[in-house]
Amino acid sequence: MAFLEIDNLSAFYGRAQSLHDVSFDVAQGEIVAVIGTNGAGKSTLMDSIIGMVKNTGAIRLEGADLVGRGSAEIVRMGVGYAPERAHLFPFMAIEDNLLVGGYTARDDIGRNLAHVHELFPVLKERATQETSTLSGGERQMVSVGRALMTSPRLLLVDEPTIGLSPKVCTEIAATLRRLNQEDGLTILITEQNINFAMSLATHVHVLETGHLRVSGTPEELMADDELNKAYFGT
């Protein structure tokens, strides 16, 4: 049994269908990336896992079906989510944003907060600063930090590098790798930045207009001529 199983998942916004029978697995301790262009359905996939979109099919975390459960319950079951555009609380201090993340995992707040501060020391230095005044990279750090405050076993990160400088992208990649290797955290990311995804993930899935088109290891996908033409123009 895979850690996360996505089985024939279709998602709907009203009448519009934005995911069509998507299926893939994520093994425990793995980093998996879903790549695709704007509108491919990447955020819908993430929102479906966390219970924010109406969907059919099955999403199982260690065998327990998540479809039909509310987001609060799914978070309690161990799914942490850093969404696209962060969705931080703009007029709250950094520290308070992180503490809101600890809403469900109250017993772990001290330990989780220390861990987030260790990963991102700047969040400790600027603990009282409002997040509306932060740079894109810092906002991403708060977003990942807030997700870690939920004591996740599966971390979802939607487009972690969007709008960020190459230097910040490298830092984010290093942090995600560290969380994976040192803490054994299972991570699912979505990306438009193919190089970032390929450098980080052990398995990559390509999503196109809501259909899963091809899957494989980064090496396998690099060898796919058609895919190279479509995404790298070579």
Partner: protein, 282 residues
Amino acid sequence: MIQILIQGLLLSGLYALIAIGFTLIFSVGRVLNLAYGVNLMLGGYAYFWVSQTLGMPKLVGVAAGAGIGILFGIAIHRLIVKPLKSDPVPVEIATLILAVVMQAGVVLIFGDASKILLPIVEGNWRVAGVSVTANRLAAALISWVILIGLYFFIRKTHVGRAISAVSMDVKGAALSGINPDRINTITWGLSGALGGLAGVFFASVTQLYAGMWVAPLIIAVAVVIVGGIGSIWGTLIVAHIIGFMEVITASFMPEIRGVVTMLLIIGVLVMMPKGLFGRGEL
């Protein structure tokens, strides 16, 4: 001068308490609860019935005022706001009509003559040479205690921070494990309790009658519009601006008391649509 300062402070503390429950709903639910004044009316009548008709201790009457506010607040959320999916205009129409219906209900039960509430705290005090009733002073002091308590509740507790979080970003709150619907219910209950308490004190320093929901509603709307979707601090500051304006006009031109507040609403709407402190904070 000192008279104006003291009267202004006492009135403003009460106005802040009146407005804060209304601001909470506007910040979290993004709707104007135009039946908010009914919370005050029900609070006042509950106190009257429990402590003066039944003769129970005053503290029980105050608790009854808060309690009926909680029930009424949660009922509005469940029976009107949720079915209308928090769509602002239908909610405003429905809550305004509800207020009129509730007024008729209170007239049916208690009659349309005003009632005199006995002072919650009896006696007179002299503050800096100015004589004030102990009741008015107590109303202002208790308002302050409640507002300070609310501030710490919002800033320092998990549920308080969750209320703040939902007011700023519902999706961000939901993916932090917060159930926004439950937080909305809690906020409506809290707002109702604050309204009910404010009603007990408001009625005890003015009078108790079935149309008494209008004046506090105007004060609350004024504070929200002038302050913007308010921080607690913004609400306090604007409550003082309006409180002092009323005391000053009442001293020099009593005929236009209240009019100035309404002119201020229109002026701010036209010139500063976001209000003086508007930015979406709670």
